[in-house]
Symmetry: C2
Subunit: 396 residues, 2 copies
């Protein structure tokens, strides 16, 4: 038996990051390659008690088939949260609970993109989203990121030069992998351009709450008076990613179709984890929990930035994130970070080479991503020192 | 903003069964339309205690990101279970944990079927699978079911007459919606035909354990020496469907690709529910739990069959299942069950018209599906009596 893989899936390789994870089994390696939230902030006790309570008091609701749209009390909590914390409140919106934010992106592209249709992405962008678009045969069109978000002239050019563009995918706040936040002006411009051209925006906002100074940028969805924006987020970064509870808020017409797509995918998100999430976000200390996460990441990020300033050659540029999990660095020159990252691994430090986040993954790339969320201060310092030694050796 | 829905999703309507579910909010309605397992057999206490224990003892494993392939101890338990209970034991096989059996089907079709490629299905067949195939633009080809499974001559004819057939989808044991079980001879024939024509078989086996007399039929996968069969099942019918824990066992080459497809879909199945399932199936009383379910469904099925014999006009034929959740009935004539089912609902009994399970859902259909798993004996008797009255009124 010889399986003939479909064209759409022939386009997709496993994530390069996952390949790197394989070497991380070595306990001596300092991994700055991950993207996991800090486990010391998981509310273990509360989750154990909530799970027990839910299954004791309401076992049938938690164990029987649920509805595809999601557990109704959680959908209501999400609506309240979006109104309160993000100023998202249009009547035409509807929400669906999904099995992690990634599924929201997948359902949207499945419903909107024919094979060969265009999807505009920031470059670099989140590898999970890029692969989802590839897995539906989308034509990926990269628009370069600047320090304040997508290059708007390049965006206009991309729309002019390409046909059948259906989606602009953006992570406007604390972008993965760059850590960059899009300015309010650019958010407005992007929204208007999408609206004029009848292109949907997927606004992916998993990191928005992780703002170091507490001053949140307005979401593009909060500006959406026309139903242009499909807003995807999750509880992975503010509660726990292993639970796989995410949500999408968008115009009810597209949500209705996404519900049908979800029905044929996993029928519904597990109910227990939905109820657990609902119970947790209703707790009076949920806001304080987010504050604790913000403080921890702000601290770890500052430790890493300080070490970078101390140990990296000046030629290497880096972003200075205002929140989130990532710093993006660039060697700026004719360097191949795929090779260099392998060499760094032999020196017991892992980072992700920038090519993984590009539309053309085979093109030589001198940039790389660093993560600070799960590493101790000491390991951040030691890891950056080792990387600095490598770079000083390479850059003459 | 006007969303243009992709061609693949334009083909898919929401499940007709879900539409029927909307009227079921009326507590006076006796629903023989469902397909839910009996909630009185959910192991509520055990699940509450397991969830608490898991989150107390191993919170980081349960709450942090997991691997796409699934929680390793559960994968090992599934392998052991398949060997022990189904005689599935080839070296070339690999398993992946999925978010309910439905996701196994979706990942397989996404990886194997280009738009326009053929998928052969039993007719009638499971509406969730049909819609998944439609959602990837597959060309559905129906092969009629006989009392001992697919019509093999028609299967050969379908393969001869259609190009690019990639999958034969079958539920050989206690089929949904018919309750029919494929004979061992037909299983062998189907396997050989698929092998000769290099077509993958998806063997969907969610009901196999629910065998009334305890005499299980051999799975097609147990005959698979060539890696032809993609075997999908779940814990939805032997544990609890709301947990959404299923699994696929197939040749490692296709599993490898399905892992990539799952990575871009929901990254991984929630870890808590995987650990809970693993803990439960390792319990010494798991076999006894399955026995209890078998006994209950055998009883309920016999109550329904007795009532059918008593109240339905003789012209109406019905299947006599040896297990599972469903009985299939046919009025045998120029009747439109879509209309009649609506009339039955007005008489406060719901069943699912057969058209929902057909390749061409718009074709007039005189058959319908009955379910007995969640209804009390009294309601089964009362419901069948009311249906009998309606049919006696219609059939002159």
């Amino acid at each position: 038996m010889k399986f003939n893989i479909s064209d759409r899936m022939s386009n997709v390789k496993g994530s390069a990051i996952r390949e790197i994870f394989k070497v991380l089994a070595d306990p001596e390696i300092i991994s700055l390659a991950g993207g996991n939230p800090a486990p010391e902030l998981f509310p273990n006790e509360e989750m154990a008690e909530t799970a027990y309570k839910v299954l004791k008091e309401n076992p049938v609701a938690a164990l029987q088939y649920g509805i595809t749209e999601g557990y109704t009390p959680l959908r209501n909590s999400v609506k309240a949260l979006l109104k309160e914390r993000e100023n998202i409140d249009e009547e035409f919106n509807e929400t669906i609970i999904v099995t992690g934010g990634q599924q929201g992106i997948e359902l949207a592209v499945k419903c909107l993109v024919n094979e060969g249709d265009g999807v505009i992405v920031e470059e670099p962008s989140f590898v999970g989203a890029l692969n989802t678009f590839r897995s539906y045969g989308a034509n990926l069109i990269g628009v370069p990121l600047e320090d304040d978000g997508m290059n708007i002239d390049q965006l206009k050019k991309a729309i002019k030069e390409n046909k059948n563009i259906k989606i602009i995918y953006t992570i406007p706040t604390f972008q993965n992998p760059s850590g960059i936040t899009m300015s309010v002006e650019k958010r407005k411009a992007l929204y208007e351009i999408a609206k004029e051209n009848n292109i949907a925006i997927i606004e992916d906002n998993p990191y928005g709450e992780l703002v170091f100074d507490g001053e949140k940028s307005p979401t593009i969805k909060s500006m959406d008076k026309d139903g242009v924006v499909i807003y995807c987020s999750s509880f992975s970064k503010v509660l726990a990613p292993g639970m796989r509870v995410g949500f999408v808020c968008a115009h009810k017409d597209i949500i209705g179709k996404m519900v049908v797509a979800k029905q044929v995918s996993d029928v519904h998100t597990p109910v227990i984890t939905q109820i657990m999430a609902d119970e947790y976000i209703k707790r009076p200390d949920f806001s304080q929990h987010i504050e604790d996460i913000r403080k921890l990441y702000a601290h770890k990020c500052s430790v890493m930035l300080e070490a970078i300033e101390k140990h990296f050659p000046k030629q290497i540029t880096h972003t200075v994130p205002r929140g989130g999990l990532f710093i993006w660095c660039d060697l700026n020159g004719d360097y191949n970070m795929d090779e260099i990252a392998k060499y760094c691994t032999s020196k017991k430090v892992a980072c992700v080479p920038g090519s993984a986040f590009m539309v053309d993954q085979d093109k030589k790339c001198s940039a790389f991503r660093l993560n600070y969320s799960t590493v101790t201060d000491e390991k951040i310092k030691a890891g950056i020192k080792i990387l600095g030694d490598v770079f000083n050796e390479i850059i003459k």
